[in-house]
């Protein structure tokens, strides 16, 4: 017995200590070490970003759109410089300066199932089915209706009509829709839109999924409830990839559409998106060669950057800025937890000198280090509108027009908006004026972060040090407060925040998509109605400033026959907003990464979601180096002349 138990003990001890040793096997993934070009791209997302629907018309979140934009083609797409280029529409025209638009579709664009078998061809009426789905409340729950309702004749009326019908609206075909809505398909390859007014940017709206096609035949096949709950293996695709494998919370595989109409497009054979628990896990997988690119956390970046002998030191490359422009949005009607107005803050923020002291008086460099630890000043953002959104006829970026007016350009030497002398004068002026109005100093600033988010707490702590360090604790007191799960529900709706930081990414190519969010007396102005509460301003002087800004924006928006003039007018309005500190631009997100992909070869655009398309991307089996990426950036800038 003793011998038996000893032998058993040895075996079990070994099993306990090296339980997995029996499971050796060849490594399946090859990472960047395979010779030749990368044909099967492997990337990752965090599990929290798992997609919730395959219904493209219902998708509103980046987590779905980033995948589905690879599976469906619309009328137009973008190139690496952000230019709008033909996709299913070979060309388009507007004979009346933006009120009516005609798109001429290419022939022979196939619908395929997930295995790449041909199911039909894209025709103009498919775009009608797509828009009908979006506008039909019973089918799409009002999702993605905002743009068509604002732009297309009869769209809002049709939406209201379906809402009145209730469940019955699920049975609607195109008859009533064609009667009511300004869209028609005179033949299979011509599509006409009639807008409510002249919208010279309407063609850029067509990259947004609200104007994408659905095959009428497919809808007949799966039915309304079938499309609402559609799965990847039942979908009809018309884009560069189909989804051939999907396990929620685990991985999805996009496979090249063998019948894709654009034979010149360079596509991967497969794109695998692995869902990982955290970026740290992803970094582990990258090191094992299981991923082709990784965005680095601050800790990983610092480890690699500080060690010149680190194996990845020479491979650190900066990502390109995302389309989001991050701003400080102040709350002009702040409330206390008991619901009463925070008079001290509201009075202070209505004062021009106080707002401008926040605008000119803070050197944000240390805070920007949280965004980009190595090149903080590269993330400097001086405008509300994102760069690369639109350009004038002579190739000037719209944000250049704004920066000309405010007299500032980003610099890698210093934080340019910070003017200590001016800030001191403004501070003194604000304290005198506001003390006379009964404001007590320091003015308390309530800033909210998610209670469980350590990264947010670290950033907020830096922000506190930056603000109090620059402006003085006799002037402001920065309070870091927390919410449990929803900023919107727990903080924004009860109007508790003094200010919040938010990134806005455009849905279409026009400055109105930015400036229209902060004007007053407009229900569609997102920030004004939900975040800044600018419509509730009572101070007459401050209200007049907002009225003037709104007038300038609406005046610019009315210019539809000359885009250069339009952009100049918008730039006037934006400069007015910035100089009056109605919003405070803060940063662009530019993280560091290790990658086998040349981001400068990919679609890059400040509106829409086509930047996520895995089309025409240049890759290398070896990790790119810092020098190579700098060369790519130079070549890209040199190539801008062709834009």
């Amino acid at each position: 017995m003793k011998k038996f138990s000893r032998a058993m003990a040895i075996i079990l001890s070994l099993l306990l200590v090296v339980g997995g040793l029996t499971a050796c096997g060849p490594k399946e993934t090859d990472g960047g070490k395979v010779a030749g070009e990368i044909t099967d791209w492997v990337t990752y997302q965090t599990i929290a970003s798992e997609m919730e629907t395959f219904n493209f018309q219902y998708s509103q979140n980046a987590k779905e759109l980033d995948v589905l934009n690879n599976c469906f083609d619309g009328l137009t797409t973008n190139d690496p410089y952000g230019n709008l280029i033909p996709c299913i529409a070979e060309r388009w025209e507007t004979p009346d300066g933006g009120k009516t638009w005609t798109f001429y579709l290419r022939k022979g664009v196939p619908w395929v199932d997930y295995q790449g078998n041909k199911k039909g061809e894209v025709v103009a009426e498919d775009f009608l089915w797509g828009l009908e789905w979006v506008l039909n409340f019973a089918k799409n729950d009002a999702i993605n209706t905002s743009m068509p309702n604002q732009l297309i004749k009869g769209a809002k009326e049709y939406y209201e009509y379906t809402k009145q019908l209730g469940e019955e609206a699920k049975n609607l075909d195109l008859t009533k829709f064609k009667e009511m809505v300004g869209i028609e398909a005179p033949d299979d390859y011509t599509l006409k839109f009639e807008c409510i007014d002249k919208y010279p940017y309407f063609q850029t709206v067509t990259v947004y999924n609200c104007l994408y096609p659905i095959s009428g035949e497919f809808l007949k096949e799966v039915g309304v409830d079938g499309y609402r709950a559609i799965t990847y293996d039942k979908l009809w695709y018309n884009g560069p990839y189909t989804i051939t494998h999907f396990v929620p919370g685990n991985e999805k595989v996009l496979t090249k559409n063998p019948l894709y109409w654009d034979k010149s497009a360079k596509l991967f054979n497969t794109v695998t998106i692995k869902m990982v628990e955290s970026t740290d896990n992803a970094f582990q997988m990258f090191q094992n060669g299981e991923l082709h690119a990784i965005t680095l956390t601050e800790a990983n970046l610092q480890t690699i950057y500080r060690d010149p002998n680190h194996k990845y030191h020479k491979n650190l490359v900066e990502a390109r800025p995302s389309k989001y422009s991050y701003q400080i949005h102040m709350n002009f009607d702040k409330r206390l937890p008991d619901g009463k107005p925070d008079t001290n803050w509201n009075t202070a923020i209505a004062n021009a000198a106080f707002r401008k002291s926040l605008y000119y008086g803070v050197d944000w460099t240390d805070y920007l280090r949280r965004v980009n630890a190595i090149n903080p000043l590269k993330t400097t953002n001086l405008c509300f509108t994102s760069f690369n959104l639109v350009t004038t006829s002579d190739g000037r970026d719209y944000t250049d027009l704004v920066m000309d007016r405010i007299g500032m350009r980003p610099s890698l030497e210093k934080y340019v908006r910070y003017d200590a002398e001016k800030a001191a004068q403004l501070k003194q002026q604000a304290m005198e004026e506001l003390t006379a109005k009964g404001v007590t100093f320091p003015v308390e600033i309530d800033y909210y972060i998610a209670g469980s988010n350590q990264t947010a707490l670290d950033s907020a702590t830096v922000m506190k040090n930056v603000l109090e360090g620059c402006l003085g604790t006799d002037y402001i007191k920065f309070n870091i407060k927390t919410y449990v799960s929803s900023f919107a529900q727990e903080v924004r709706n009860p109007q508790l925040q003094s200010f919040s930081i938010s990134g806005w990414g455009a849905d279409f190519g026009d400055p109105i998509n930015f400036l229209g969010q902060i004007i007053i007396d407009d229900d569609n102005a997102y920030y004004a109605t939900t975040t800044t509460n600018a419509n509730n301003i009572t101070d007459p002087e401050f209200k007049a400033v907002f009225k003037e800004f709104t007038r300038l924006v609406l005046e610019a928006n009315a210019i539809t026959d000359d885009l250069d003039k339009r952009y100049e007018a918008f730039a006037d309005a934006e400069a007015y907003a910035l100089e009056n500190a109605l919003t405070i631009p803060l940063y662009y997100n530019i993280p560091w990464q290790l990658t086998h992909m040349n981001a400068y070869s990919a679609i890059y655009c400040a509106y829409g979601g086509h930047a996520a398309r895995y089309v025409n991307r240049e890759t290398s089996t070896e990790l790119y180096t810092t020098e190579q990426y700098e060369e790519f950036a130079r070549a890209y800038e040199a190539g801008k002349g062709g834009k």
Partner: protein, 316 residues
Amino acid sequence: MLKYTIKRLLQSFITVLIVVTIVFLLLRMLPTDYYFTEEQLMKLTREQLDDQLRAAGLLDPPLVQLGRYYRQLARLDLGTSRRIQNSVPVTQVIGSKIYISMRLGWISLAIAVVAGVAYGVVQAMNKGGFWDHVGTAYTVFVRAVPALVSYSLILILGSRMLNLPSMYSTRDVVRSSILPVVCLSLSSVAGYMVWTRRYMVDELNKDYIRLAKLKGMSTRSVLYKHVLKNAFVPLAQYLPQSVLLVTGGSLLVERFFSVPGLGSLLTDSILRYDLNLVQALVMMYTAMGVVGLFLGDVLMVALDPRILLTEKEGTR
């Protein structure tokens, strides 16, 4: 026994119903904005948000909603998911995940029971000896080191030294299951070791064991026919519950290795306010708990007929 079984099943049904009702009403007390994503709150007007809530019946009084839910349950209709997999029946969402958690859970439980009980026997037989200390050291290590640290070590060792996949893949189930199974087994092996050792040592010190030995029974015979059998009875009570509960998946291990199982589904569905899914999962977990306890009692009786589940007449 039949009477007892019917009574317990009835009690179980009422327990499940009470829990589901409480959870249903608690969820209805939350503000309705949680029903929407931040993007939807951003892009839909207040009127459109209310239209959606009205269409989903969420603006009706809670008791009206509860009545509707009971009627739905009577038709065995658990509704559709709204956020996890939009418009897909919740039974389908759960069904697609349960077998993955079940497979990993059952394998790890089998490993834990076999290895844990076997090593517990070894420890008991070598009480105070080298192998006993090895087992104790293992137990202390597993219990003292935070789970995520152990998992990270296993991940690094497994993926770098043994070339095992860092995350679970349905396209390479066998190899990609190894690390999650090792992690899942890690703690439960220790649990079964500790309890087996304890019950075995208790039994080995009892008089009937000495008597059996004096009567000339072999050590092996005493060990397996008497000691282990008696020591296993208290462990057996929790076995059915464990079998059912591991089916529900492990939040930590499944998250860590991206296993698409049930482990994180409940927290995800709560965070995303996917009401039908939360209710279905709560019902499932409650049912598993009460049924597991019931089966544990039955198993104990089967292993030790001296145990009575019903009161004898005249007893109190």
